[in-house]
Symmetry: C2
Subunit: 343 residues, 2 copies
């Protein structure tokens, strides 16, 4: 309510002096500073965000671009959001949510053009993501959480898909599994899918590993279908790696329907699933992947550095995915090696 002019009047100085006292841009004598501070306290003065933003071209607001149809939420999104929001706040920034679809280019253009936000965090980045060009054109600095097909020259934070895939594959091979399945999401050219393939190839030193990959829709039904397909293409399958949170329920349900007990008959592991969700599953789901909250925080850090004038070449940060062993993976049973096709 109170304005700078009010404070100035009460402290018996000019408006500019108050401003300098607040920002520290120019030296102010101790006595004057004290009077001003007292006046600010008395009047409960809070600088007006708009006036400040108008003149200084800095809003201290960053936005989180999260294309999300409400109704089919990914639980892990929440971790990113909270991780980012919390950290941004600690750094003196506000976090604004932008949920419009990836394709809503015009809306985004307008949003970016308003000058409301200092920068943006991009989530659910697609290989060819139209939002990137919009932000570049509008001159809004941004950091991606995930990455597009050609991220050269762009800042991003992402899970280390190669390393995570390797850890996951290694674990299952170590348990004796040789016939693996992979369930991905519907996104084109999922980097994780590729990473798994590579990891299997690399590890496959005469082990004769079999890998079947399938893309599932993000729903229980999608998971069911994926499971049926997997079993159809590789009846002797003993372990499944899932990179699609929303399909897990269907996979579990279907595996029960097909009479495959987890982990006795079938091991299952999910990538990038939050711990509290994994704990809910019976048996508790073994997972692999970095902490979403931490990635969110790192993305904020990276963005804020740019806002502070960092002109270094594009920074790209990968997060190691830890393996969280719970109860959904078990050593392969010997019987499976011989006769696993007759169920």
């Amino acid at each position: 309510m109170a304005t700078m002019a009010d404070v100035a009047r009460r402290a018996g100085v000019s408006v500019s002096t108050v401003s300098y006292a607040l920002s520290g841009t120019r030296p102010i004598s101790l006595t004057t500073r004290r009077r001003i501070e007292q006046a600010m306290l008395d009047l409960e003065y809070t600088p007006n965000a708009f006036a400040r933003g108008l003149k200084s071209k800095r809003s201290h607001i960053i936005s989180l671009l999260l294309p999300a149809r409400p109704g089919s939420p990914q639980p892990s999104s929440l971790e990113y959001i909270l991780g980012a929001a919390d950290h941004a706040q600690r750094c003196g920034y506000h976090l604004m949510l932008w949920t419009a679809d990836v394709e809503a280019v015009d809306d985004l253009t307008q949003f970016a053009g308003q000058g409301l936000v200092d920068g943006a965090l991009l989530m659910e980045v697609r290989p060819e993501d139209p939002r990137i060009q919009v932000l570049v054109d509008a001159g809004v600095p941004f950091t991606m959480i995930g990455r597009n097909a050609d991220p050269a020259g762009l800042d991003f934070v992402d899970a280390d898909a190669e390393q995570t895939a390797e850890a996951a594959v290694e674990h299952l091979l170590g348990l004796g599994h040789r016939r693996l399945g992979f369930v991905g999401g519907p996104s084109v050219r999922n980097p994780v899918q590729n990473a798994i393939l590579q990891a299997v190839k690399r590890a496959d030193a005469g082990m004769n590993v079999d890998l079947v990959q399938v893309e599932a829709e993000c729903s229980t039904e999608g998971g069911r279908n994926a499971f049926a397909w997997l079993l159809h293409s590789s009846p002797k399958i003993t372990a499944i790696i899932v990179a699609n949170e929303q399909a897990v329920s269907g996979l579990i349900r279907a595996s029960a329907d097909f009479g495959r007990r987890i982990p006795d008959d079938l091991s299952m592991m999910c990538l990038d699933m939050p711990a509290h969700v994994a704990e809910l599953i019976t048996p508790p789901m073994t997972t692999a992947g970095p902490s979403a909250a931490e990635i969110g925080r790192a993305a904020v850090d990276m963005l804020l550095r740019r806002l502070d004038g960092d002109v270094a070449p594009a920074r790209q940060l990968l997060f190691r995915g830890e393996l969280n062993l719970r109860g959904s993976c078990a050593p392969v049973r010997d019987a499976d090696h011989q006769t696993a096709s007759d169920r």
Copy 2:
């Protein structure tokens, strides 16, 4: 980038004319309007949010106050957030996240004083919630999602705890259960807990229903402890109603440890758990409660109405909780009536 002055120059009119053309506040001739629109297109003009906010005292930003320690997120929060964000956006508003703790009164005071937001949505409202006074003092209109101890005169949207409790209790009694348990959260004076108690009392027409209530911490461990306590105080218990998402994993785990199969030996039902989470559990969890996304939307609606100058007395909206029957509740077995104490 382009300003109103640029547009005015290009269209050969004055700044004020452009402004009137944009807002429609005063009549503008068709030919002039067209020239202006063309100029705006040519220059890709977007009104500056700060200048607009400074002059008009309206930011078209609302904030969502969601005290959340990242690390222990409630999956249902995400539904509220996305429901609210999406709807706000549709209504031409931006949604800003504020994650500071309920007790961080000073931070909130400053935030509210900045004039950045037109209004606020309050989540995780406590019986005695200091944020309420802060917002009232700052003159920031707000709507609560949930309610405090004395919500008279305040706008809120909430689940209809009485009705939901009644539906839940009725369902279990209908299945023959007479020894019930209730697991609540750590919040003081949880209205749901009370509602359950009342519902049991009301329904108890000589049925001789037994109800044991316990508060659990929001964690797997909390759920485990609650289960042990429940079993200790009421060994013959056959059904549990849970109003604490984060304790469910512990309850499930403990019930397995104690050899109680769900739903054969023990029925379990969770209030206000999102469908996609309930589907993950084995067996799929029966739930009761309204749609979080819908509540989020309704809260936005209510708030925006106030921002549009609605001066009606406080609006208070309760949402019916639908029962979603999945697989975690079953008819009580007759044996339980006679000898359920000897496990």
